[in-house]
């Protein structure tokens, strides 16, 4: 009996040791399975809409009307496009087109005008919207905040042609704007802090500002949202899915929320599990 008790104890310790020293590639494998499975076989888990997305949507719904002018400063990088920006950008821009607002898209990142040209405008249902009359891609301007400031102060001093090298005097909608005062809503699509846009448009011209951003920036935008400088923001893939829910246009965001859920739950489980293993390892080492 005593020998079988010792064997059992040894077996248990071996098992624990193996668990404690588990190769972390097994965790990577579990992560891959949990991320890929909901894409192949969607679960259809529900989603709760958070306040920043709701406020962004309600602001657009209540304040933006047909022929209102929306300025979009695009700062996207293509690496984040499919997972972070696409759901929110497509849902929001589609909402603007459905209302009949005019979109002025200008970029402060080198890849952004190509993203707009290749992935955004071709995807949107435009209805009767015409390029140059209802929407325009003005291309990339370097200088970051200085470009924003120059554009806000005097558009014609900075912008002489659009992304397709058409002179702006041949675009009817460009004759309707001369500086920041002419716009009704200003949006920045970026993974950077919000100070540039807020300084140059909200503080200087009193324009209402919103953001479409990556998930990791939520903590940085919240102080500006809490103080009212931001009317709202769409935060990464989850924010995009929420906006799709609000506009009734399900898309890639809602299709991916199951993956977001499984990923987050797995990381939370991993935090607890690895710490439990760490404590077990310490105890085994003491023994």
């Amino acid at each position: 009996m005593e020998s079988s008790g010792v064997i059992m104890s040894n077996n248990k310790e071996n098992w624990l040791l193996r668990l404690v020293n588990l190769d972390q590639r097994y965790y990577y494998l579990a992560l891959i399975i949990l991320l890929v499975t909901p894409i192949i076989r969607p679960i259809g888990l529900p989603i709760l809409v958070t306040a920043p997305t709701k406020d962004f949507y309600q602001y657009v719904n209540n304040n933006i009307q047909e022929n209102d002018k929306i300025l979009i400063w695009g700062g996207m990088s293509v690496g984040f496009w499919p997972t972070e920006y696409k759901p929110g950008v497509i849902a929001a821009v589609q909402h603007f087109f459905d209302i009949g607002a005019k979109i002025y898209w200008i970029s402060d990142a080198t890849e952004d005008p190509v993203i707009c040209d290749q992935y955004v405008f071709p995807t949107i249902r435009k209805g009767s919207a015409v390029y140059g009359v209802n929407y325009v891609n003005l291309g990339y301007y370097s200088g970051g905040e200085m470009a924003m400031s120059a554009f806000a102060k005097d558009i014609s001093s900075l912008v002489t042609q659009d992304y397709y090298r058409t002179p702006v005097n041949q675009l009817p909608m460009m004759r309707e704007v001369s500086d920041a005062n002419d716009f009704d809503f200003v949006i920045h699509i970026t993974g950077s802090p919000p100070e540039w846009l807020l300084r140059q448009y909200n503080s200087a011209y009193g324009k209402d500002c919103g953001f479409i951003s990556i998930s990791g920036m939520m903590g940085i935008y919240l102080p500006y949202y809490a103080s009212g400088q931001l009317v709202g923001f769409i935060n990464g893939l989850r924010g995009g899915a929420e906006y799709e829910t609000l506009t009734g246009n399900p898309g890639i965001g809602l299709a991916s929320t199951d993956t977001v859920s499984t990923g987050h739950i797995f990381f939370s489980f991993l935090i607890v599990f690895t710490n439990v293993l760490y404590l077990i390892k310490r105890r085994l080492n003491k023994q």
């Binding site: 991320l35 989603i47 290749q118 200085m146 935090i271």
Partner: protein, 214 residues
């Protein structure tokens, strides 16, 4: 004379431009000065574009020696491949334009999937970080681990519809400790930037013009 041209003159120019741009932001200046500020801003936009060119030259400067001197064939090939693709993309962009088929082909079929793949690896980096570094060594690390657990699990879209009270916990963490901490950081950063600007204005901050050892 040399010190006047090398140090004093640039610092004086910086001070004057700082005052003009700073004043233009807050006051409605006469059109002549306002147009001057617009002109300055256009110059900065142009200079910033030259930084892209500088970046391209830097890449060539780093990778060309690797092709010549590196002992490993793989390093030589990768550096050569980088320079070839960069050159082809620049030629297509400059000659045919960024809306042309060859350029958009490179963008959509090479840059986009590769960039997305590189950023997707972050999930595994985070997984590795959780496995190795989230350890309760002191009080601060315990608070970090607990708050990370609560926010990460609270951010899962599937959790909060079934546990609405969980959303309140996550929202409290983000709205109270996070916002107050971020506000402190933002204010401190703003004060730092303000003081740096004042130092440049009064020519106390001279590192941009004065050489090392002077």
């Amino acid at each position: 004379m040399s010190n006047l041209i090398r140090n004093q003159l640039p610092l004086t120019i910086i001070s004057i431009i700082l005052i003009v741009i700073f004043t233009d932001y807050f006051l409605a200046l006469p059109p002549s000065i306002s147009n001057f500020v617009s002109g300055l801003q256009q110059w900065i936009v142009i200079l910033a574009a030259f930084a892209l060119v500088l970046g391209a030259f830097n890449i060539v400067k780093i990778h060309l020696p690797k092709i010549r001197k590196s002992k490993e064939i793989s390093n030589k090939l990768l550096s050569a491949w980088l320079l070839v693709i960069m050159t082809i993309t620049i030629i297509f962009g400059l000659t045919l334009g960024t809306t042309s088929s060859p350029y958009t082909f490179i963008f959509s079929n090479m840059l986009s999937p590769i960039s997305t793949s590189v950023w997707s690896i972050m999930a595994f980096y985070f997984c590795g970080a959780v496995i190795r570094t989230f350890r309760p060594r002191n009080l601060e690390s315990i608070v970090l681990i607990i708050s990370t657990f609560l926010v990460a699990s609270g951010n899962a879209p599937a959790v909060t519809p079934y546990l609405p009270w969980y959303e309140n916990i996550k929202t409290w963490i983000m709205d109270v400790p996070n916002v107050s901490g971020m506000r402190g950081m933002i204010i401190a950063t703003g004060i730092g930037v303000l003081f740096t600007g004042v130092k440049m204005l009064f020519q106390v901050e001279r590192r941009s013009t004065v050489g090392v050892g002077e």
